[in-house]
Amino acid sequence: MASRKEGTGSAATSSSSTTGAAGKGKGKGGSGDSAVKQVQIDGLVVLKIIKHYQEEGQGTEVVQGVLLGLVVEDRLEITNCFPFPQHTEDDADFDEVQYQMEMMRSLRHVNIDHLHVGWYQSTYYGSFVTRALLDSQFSYQHAIEESVVLIYDPIKTAQGSLSLKAYRLTPKLMEVCKEKDFSPEALKKGNITFEHMFEEVPIVIKNSHLINVLMWELEKKSAVADKHELLSLASSNHLGKNLQLLMDRVDEMSQDIVKYNTYLRNTSKQQQQKHQYQQRRQQENMQRQSRGEPPLPEEDLSKLFKPHQPPARMDSLLIAGQINTYCQNIKEFTAQNLGKLFMAQALQEYNN
């Protein structure tokens, strides 16, 4: 349905770049605005993702897949997708890249968009802000600038509202990641906080008119009772799980902070020692000078005082981001639940 003005042009480059060669999109990274302002998803893709999870994912296990589509102006259109096969560790010779290429080639034969525009992943209670996701999204965005990652939350979806979100790394983060320097200073310089790691791209689900017609027809037929999970008042389980996860993250965060604290203490201690050493040296030199002796040779201070390795801050950033996500989730969830509870109360009163 979508036009293919530039699609064909960039097809060759992008498909080859999935293997991780070309350094495209480097120039654009610095600019504040990102390449994609909106993501338009085909209904088919949504259904395929849901189906994939239903068939293969369970519990904390996640499913992943490749998104295909094309970029139209500042809009990313995702028109198709295919899952990564679940493979165990036994068949190590399985070549994912090979599989993807093969898949895309086949899709191309049946005249489907075969441009690689990102990937999708399911999540368990919104715990997706991880190092793995960051790395893989970075490599995607590094190769194909427009790539997005779609996060599908099956649990929320089961509660009655589809939860599908598109994320991109912010240009700032891209910059930092490119340098692979996660020291506190670098992050400070990059002015990155947990809020500025990912940017959410608004999603529009678009269906063909035919499908829309079908939907309307189906909507009329379906009974109201089918939608009642939206009105479920049970909250404790979900909330409990979220709290539990949040607590784990907080624990991790605490540990991280303790680690950082030790580092700081050590460095400051070292700084002091260094300072003392320098002073001593200076005094000695003064004395020697007064006695007419040549001053002591300068020594390499960095050799004497090896600077401590600063702990990578990326992890704590990610944890903070994750905590943020949880908090958002909980806030959202409790807000909805409160609404529901008030509604239920009102209904109760009304009935009485």
Binding site: S236, G240, L243, I257, N261, S268
Partner: protein, 913 residues
Amino acid sequence: MSRFFTTGSDSESESSLSGEELVTKPVGGNYGKQPLLLSEDEEDTKRVVRSAKDKRFEELTNLIRTIRNAMKIRDVTKCLEEFELLGKAYGKAKSIVDKEGVPRFYIRILADLEDYLNELWEDKEGKKKMNKNNAKALSTLRQKIRKYNRDFESHITNYKQNPEQSADEDAEKNEEDSEGSSDEDEDDDGVSAAAFLKKKSEAPSGESRKFLKKMEDEDEDSEDSEDDEDWDTGSTSSDSDSEEEEGKQTVLASRFLKKAPTTEEDKKAAEKKREDKAKKKHDRKSKRLDEEEEDNEGGEWERVRGGVPLVKEKPKMFAKGTEITHAVVIKKLNEILQARGKKGTDRAVQIEMLQLLVQIASENNLGEGVIVKIKFNIIASLYDYNPNLATYMKPEMWQKCLDCINELMDILFANPNIFVGENILEESENLHNADQPLRVRGCILTLVERMDEEFTKIMQNTDPHSQEYVEHLKDEAQVCAIIERVQRYLEEKGTTEEICRIYLRRILHTYYKFDYKAHQRQLTPPEGSSKSEQDQAENEGEDSAVLMERLCKYIYAKDRTDRIRTCAILCHIYHHALHSRWYQARDLMLMSHLQDNIQHSDPPVQILYNRTMVQLGICAFRQGLTKDAHNALLDIQSSGRAKELLGQGLLLRSLQERNQEQEKVERRRQVPFHLHINLELLECVYLVSAMLLEIPYMAAHESDARRRMISKQFHHQLRVGERQPLLGPPESMREHVVAASKAMKMGDWKTCHSFIINEKMNGKVWDLFPEADKVRTMLVRKIQEESLRTYLFTYSSVYDSISMETLSDMFELDLPTVHSIISKMIINEELMASLDQPTQTVVMHRTEPTAQQNLALQLAEKLGSLVENNERVFDHKQGTYGGYFRDQKDGYRKNEGYMRRGGYRQQQSQTAY
């Protein structure tokens, strides 16, 4: 044979030449090699005989011997050298020679040498063959000997005229000795033949003499396991004393007789052999009798023995004629004992001999003192029989040992005037003087202790599941009886220290036995006359409790070594615990303060301590004191090495870690099987106690983040149970407990009960208790109570109020019990509720936070610490340590106490930060 013979000839020739009683003795060094040492006085007398004359003559004979050797191999150079030496030696011996006259052997060698040289001189061809040195020496020697012999001309001519006279003497001896000697004298020159023989015997002579001497010694002592040959001498000479006189006469007679035939004709010698033998025998007999005075002749007839067919006989201690006196027996005993521990001593023979000695001693009525003394030694050598510490006595040895000790005890009891003690010196022993109390060195206590150890060793080394073990175990009664006897004996005579030791032995044999009789008596209070005689007789025996009490108290009061007291206390506690006297046992354990310092004691005591603790725990369990039971067993069980800690077996896994030595040591520490504490019972008791404690605790602290485990092992079992992919009906004891725990978690006491008490578990565990039914009732009751508590903990949040009657129906407990349990829970603030008296209901307060609230509380706590940590980072940046924020932080902590119940309010206050 030839050896005996030749030596004989050698010594004989000397003695005959000297014409006096003299013994050629080997050089002093040989004494050391004798297996049995002579007693002092004997040696002395012999040394006196060895006079200056002896020495000189010996020197001369030695030189002569070398010359003859040299002559034989035609080594003239050597001859020359030796001849010169001989001359000098002769000069030294001059004074003696002047007194005694020129020794015949000296003349003989001179004559022989001259003849020999002349012969060589004449033999031109031989001379040519000779090398230059020899030829030169020959001429020199010839001249020298001519010159030298001029001094002895008269002697030599005398000798040459009558060479037989001297030669005969040799020949005579030879014939007398053996068959083989007869033809030797057929040489034209008898003298040379004799000389030849002598030369031949050179080397062995010393040795054989030694040998002979040894035999002499042994004949007197007649006791050495090493050469049995000697015994026949002893046996043949076992004539009665009355023959003594007669014997002396026959000596002379035989001597006379001997000479007559030999001078006649040598060739007849063979025919005379028989006759000779008879004579010899006779000779020997007589010889035996006048042992010491005729020592020199001993050599003469002794050497004959080689030819006589040996008859092996049972060893005899004494010559028949010997009057068996104390001194003799003791001497013999000492000799036997000296061989003890030496290489090559046959221990079995030694024991046998000692036993014979006892027999002899008793036959001759030597008095009990001697017998006791020997018995002591028999037992000691029985213990010695096994050189290896690890190996154990053979059954027959063991039996012998027991009998022997019993006999010894019999004697000691029968003769109260015998004093036995370690500290009695060998010298101050009084074995036979009946006027004074008999004193014998030896310690009956040590023997009995050793016996007990041997018994333990036997038990350790027997397969506990064999009939053999049962057989051995039957001996335990004997061992106990012996210990009891010794105890009685020592109570009369022993020092307190000894009494303590024997008491400890007694205790060690008593403490682990359950006193069924006393138990029976307790159950059925005395009804008086209705009981039969036999029953009463059976009941006569002292209660083991009373016995233990008595023995232990004595030890507590009198013992000065810490170890005995410690052991006694532990055994006492064990015994109390075994008989369900929990409070006595516990108090004793606590009062003794053993828990504090037991780790400083040696491993066997520690094992005993562990056993005691386990028994204590089991006892507590029987009393329904699960908590005490759990605490007592925790140490043993939590290590997972109960088997090792109780000395009931080695763990395989540590086999690699220890070396052979350690393993041996550990093996020796093992407790015999009949003392074992059933490990499954132990584990079951532990797990059930843990279950009764842990399940309600878990229910109460379900949502507590920082809940501790009461029993790690129990949790481990639970986890193992959870990991099972397929849960079948429980098979093992552990599975039963796990299944029961699961049921209890739900408050389902009936299922729990059926899992804990059923056929399988009865067979495996509960029936092992002496009062199984009592334990089972206790257990059911416990399960009901704890299930009720668990139920209330788990489900109280669901209820607004519960009727106590319902609860009492549910758990089949009577109302007051339910009431008391619930009251207790309310008092302990375990259950937030109140009792409504009129309606008999429990009204829940519902103040316990819900799951979410709990989570929120935990989260708040965690956030608190996060903030705290974060502030530290901030502090750092500010460069201020401590100060304002620190105080603030403490504030959080303080607030927590009341926040626990605060619920929402607290959460809000937390979010404010």
